[in-house]
Symmetry: D2
Subunit: 386 residues, 4 copies
């Protein structure tokens, strides 16, 4: 009963890839390096551009500050454009300085809060140079032990800090605020759920929006409900896509539960968020044991397949079944869309646009990985520490 | 390092007990009955009054409509007063009529929504008769299968239905809106989290508040954070207290994780909610295998112990340790309060008020259970079905 | 890269449907009835036979004792055969008698244990009459409160009770022992995990095997690992198939996470369990809001699709990718099989066997539901209470 | 109703502290260092000895190989003895070498398995030099993506590798085998649960035992049940104590759920494991934001308090309540022991043994932390990477 998505509908998909995905990352036990890993933001962009070159879906690259600090932002911006991509969201980092051991924007010490706010103001300066629209705030703030700090006072401090940062963003900027269930804080996190991010965003104003990272929820959480709710409230600003079996595993998107990804995209479309530039789709993964560029390509393709399946949903038939409370039929219509093998359609769609039908095979055959492994010798591989 | 709570502070505790706790309840596998189980609301009130008589802590009794429907509400009210208690919150029930199989306030069919709204209007009539302040809305609404109904449209219908009900409550009434992670709906619940309850309450107005049931969260959720956040937002209306190891187990409060209960009370006090009549403390449990009146007494005492421990917290020392980021000391101050054995103090406090030092032993020795087992013969024992 | 399953491979699928799935069931909040619900075991068999008639996959029907007690077991057996199905596993029930309030085979009182053992001996008598091979033991035994009973002593009592029952089964019988994480016990369950079921089965002997119910695990549990492990140990006796988003939701199999179902079937095949009559596939669901016979048909078809996808796995290519530690390729081969739309192949396969291509549409068009709704008037609808 | 523990019973407590707890550790986001952190195994032992000096409870120190590799094991052993402690368990490490990116004992490549086995044989050599009894095996082995490797074949390879190692341990040695739910592997872990560890230990032989790390379970798992079961089966070899709110948070033991710790100790005592040298109690924590030596002291004291509470349990009264199925009384007896404030008794007990009544205050007042912060300047602080 599935319908066929139009090329126009498929073409509305845009995915931002993060610069850090191309550096080394891993677990607290070990970070494994691989030959060819980029050593600076320029090389990260080169890798990111490969994803777009083969899929046509990833035209922008998110930056992380200070990991991606360069002397000449204009040069980085031109480098991106030469590679056929644009610089995107700027992500702040307030979790690696010794001063931030007990928090940043919610820290009990005003000096540390000042430093954390200043870091964000610096990020806003970067945004001017890079032409970025979004300042993404993910905080490691929280506590590890009951009693360690006042949950309530931390909320108030956080609100004040965010408010000062928000006052500095331009009219065309947005602040997007991420929540996370736990990690690296293990007792309480200062923005643990969408509700908390939402109330801060409402207090801040129109240009503050919630970021939903698909790996940042309690076990069993119905994520598509949150998507539907935030779209309904006009406050869904961006996704961080990845997948998880257990915690914030940061696996390739769609790898753990492709049906969940599909349901999320169904709600995204139903709520008007698909193709809306105000609802940014971003990848956020840790390629610890798998090759990084192919890992990003796989994720981008998985999102595209989920979108194509979701666009195959027979909305009219579904509306009738729902009206009739025909549980089994409504579910069957949903499952029909999911069961549809959209890969031939997508291959055809790519071919029509001059893209490789099978982006993964094309990339692997391109010799890119071998080339960078040869070229990128010496120096320090980029990673979460830099 | 713990401090000693004052009698005045201890005296601010008030717990509402629910009429349905004294009837039979259980699991989908089996509901076990026991001799002496009440057969009507009058007998439920008699049982509830025993809790207050022995503890001095449970002066009000929540009703459930239509389970507690009587012909003469005035008679029920006078019966309560004769027993030394007051009628409290009225809980609506929209999950047992065949019409509500696919939902109530969020049902796709306007006829069913009308019926569900009307049921709430009837509850408001009951409130006039009983002198109740709070209309508590817990909904079983949700779906079992992906696709079954539109998550988004259900939110909109829910908002509309709630809005109509809210328009009918009096200036001195409140609507308190409960959320629940799952059950009886197994795919999505229409009010699954505090965020959703909160946004509906904000949309409704000042007298709409969130109900936090301690058993209604995803595994691992930091409940005291939600308490702190809702108090900060001025939207915490009531607690449903119980405890759980797994899901909504509805065990005796404090039985599964007494330290969590303590932390919740610490935040309740820190946020100004303790002793505030606008933050109602209610029990909501299922005494499936244990004796019911003693089960309620145990819960009331467990809450009282948690309160006494929380009142023992050395706030001044804690503030210093927190300011100094002395993680271990701050945690130790918290644990000191928890480790304090407050039972002797509470026994003394009770004695000073003419209450039995050991309410449980006193109740068991009173012969009440034996008497009602003898008297309450014939008729149909009350339960979740009536 | 997927391969095409052979008809012979597809034909090895056999699924047992449970008699109780056709009666009413639900949640502790409410059990909704529907017109046409069977009123006795004979009518349940008639419904079950419809599943087999339309799918060709469900030749046997599991019984539940005493729910399915009849005066004349021979008549029930002949009735089944007339309908084209066979009687299958006998499930014991030791969770609804008042005596079993605090347990059955692990109860502290020897009198109650005796009664529970005797119930199982009675089930063995039934097996003689029905020609059943398997005695399935699922126990509600456990406790709700810490301290309530001795965890250790309950294990020892359980072992002794099981041992006595096992001594009574015939050489061609099996005892299959189910585990469950929680519910209806909410503190501890006497057989909470596969490890516990396994150690009891090992102690009992060769003909004792573990039952894996897909809804009976802690959140996040990797179920296919348990499948692989139990097959490796030669101790996987049966599956109870259903699906869940939260707890033991007992939804239609494959409805919550079709990719998980696929992975389970992949391990079943890899470990030699597929098509092995010693690894019984059984459905165990609660059709609370959906139509029951169609619900069972949907489940059977979902299992069949998962099997067809799993049989599409390119084992040779996978072995090479695994040997090379090519993470992305190995995963891609797995996902290729899952992404394959096997429905046209299965429709063709059915047609070749004289079955309806679309069993669901064929059943709905058959008029069966309307007919039984007309005929089955009066009497008491069967349910979990009978 | 609680009873008073005897000094003899209290004196049977022995806790092993791990050398790595005194080095730096943290999360994947950041490892924070602190002044005074040890730079080599000798300094780690000095820190560990402080725990024993102030508590009298931690006479042995677990080593980690190769993190604790020294040229002269005899010198390390004498250093320990001079400090008043003994070298304890040797922990192997097969998760940080690039060769182990895809596993160690279960790796698809025989060369890597050989290397991993050889590492364990080297550990056994170390045990000869250190006089250690236990070889502790915790493996990071597993996969991140479905299909990545064969779950079943990995079990078989694991069994073979373990078997070769086991063949090399001496008659007075033990191999203790740890399980873990997830992390660093995010799809499947090769030893994810006690059942898997148990079946491998049974296959290996008498001197192979299971290690239970309290942070290595699925959410909601009843850990005390596993303690009871493993003691019943004679296969509980050791604990790794820590606490968690979410995943393997590795917090101070007893910090997250002191009641759970109490219940675990109750089962340990009930099952005969308390004071049995064959059931080793070891700490395993990550002191990321708190001071390390005090963090270990706190953990040791928390275990001691849990033991004292558990020894306060009125076993006789409990047996009667259990026999009578008096749920509330049995639970009350349990809670009485937990509610008892054992700190005065323990202070007295320490004083009688010449130990400081308040070990934490005594240690903090000793000036040790200031001294090592002054002395340990230069060099590289020890951590998980060395």
């Amino acid at each position: 009963m599935a319908v066929t998505p139009t090329p126009e509908a498929l073409d509305r998909l845009r995915i931002e890839v993060p610069s850090w995905a191309f550096g080394n990352s891993g677990t607290r036990f070990r970070v494994f390096g691989t030959p060819g890993t980029p050593r600076d933001p320029f090389e990260k962009l080169a890798d990111a551009a490969e994803v777009h070159r083969h899929t046509g879906l990833a035209p922008t690259v998110a930056l992380h500050y200070p990991w991606d600090r360069v002397d000449d932002w204009g040069a980085l911006r031109r480098h991106a454009e030469d590679l056929g991509v644009q610089l995107g969201t700027v992500n702040s980092n307030t979790f690696q300085d010794d001063d931030f051991k007990f928090g940043s924007l919610a820290h009990p010490d005003p000096r540390v809060r000042r430093k954390a706010v200043d870091h964000h103001l610096e990020c806003i300066e970067v945004m001017h140079a890079t032409g970025s629209r979004d300042l993404k705030v993910w905080l490691a703030d929280g506590t590890n032990y009951p009693g360690q700090d006042s949950i309530r006072e931390r909320q108030d401090r956080l609100a004040e800090s965010l408010s000062e940062i928000y006052a500095h963003i331009d009219a065309e900027h947005r602040m997007v605020l991420e929540y996370k269930f736990f990690e690296p804080a293990f007792y309480h996190t200062d923005i643990p759920d969408w509700g908390t991010s939402y109330v801060h965003c409402v207090a801040l104003g129109e240009r503050a929006k919630v970021v939903l990272d698909t790996g940042h929820h309690a076990p069993g959480t119905n994520i598509e409900f949150i998507v539907a709710q935030l779209l309904r409230l006009g406050k869904l600003g961006a996704f961080d896509f990845n997948s998880r079996f257990y915690a914030d595993d940061d696996l390739i998107v769609g790898a753990a539960d492709p049906f969940q990804l599909f349901r999320i995209v169904v709600e995204l479309i139903a709520g008007g968020g698909y193709g809306d530039p105000d609802v940014q789709l971003v990848l956020d993964q840790c390629h610890n044991i798998e090759a990084k560029v192919p890992g990003q390509i796989r994720s981008v393709l998985n999102v595209q397949e989920a979108v194509a399946k979701a666009l195959s949903l027979d909305d009219e038939a579904l509306a009738v079944a729902r009206r009739d409370c025909d549980v089994l039929l409504a579910n069957e219509i949903m499952m029909d869309a999911f069961a549809t093998d959209v890969r031939p359609l997508l291959a055809e769609h790519r071919a029509a646009k001059g893209l490789p039908e099978d982006p993964m095979r094309a990339f692997l055959a391109s010799g890119y990985l071998e080339r960078v492994a040869d070229e990128r010798v010496g120096g320090t591989q980029a990673g979460w520490g830099a």
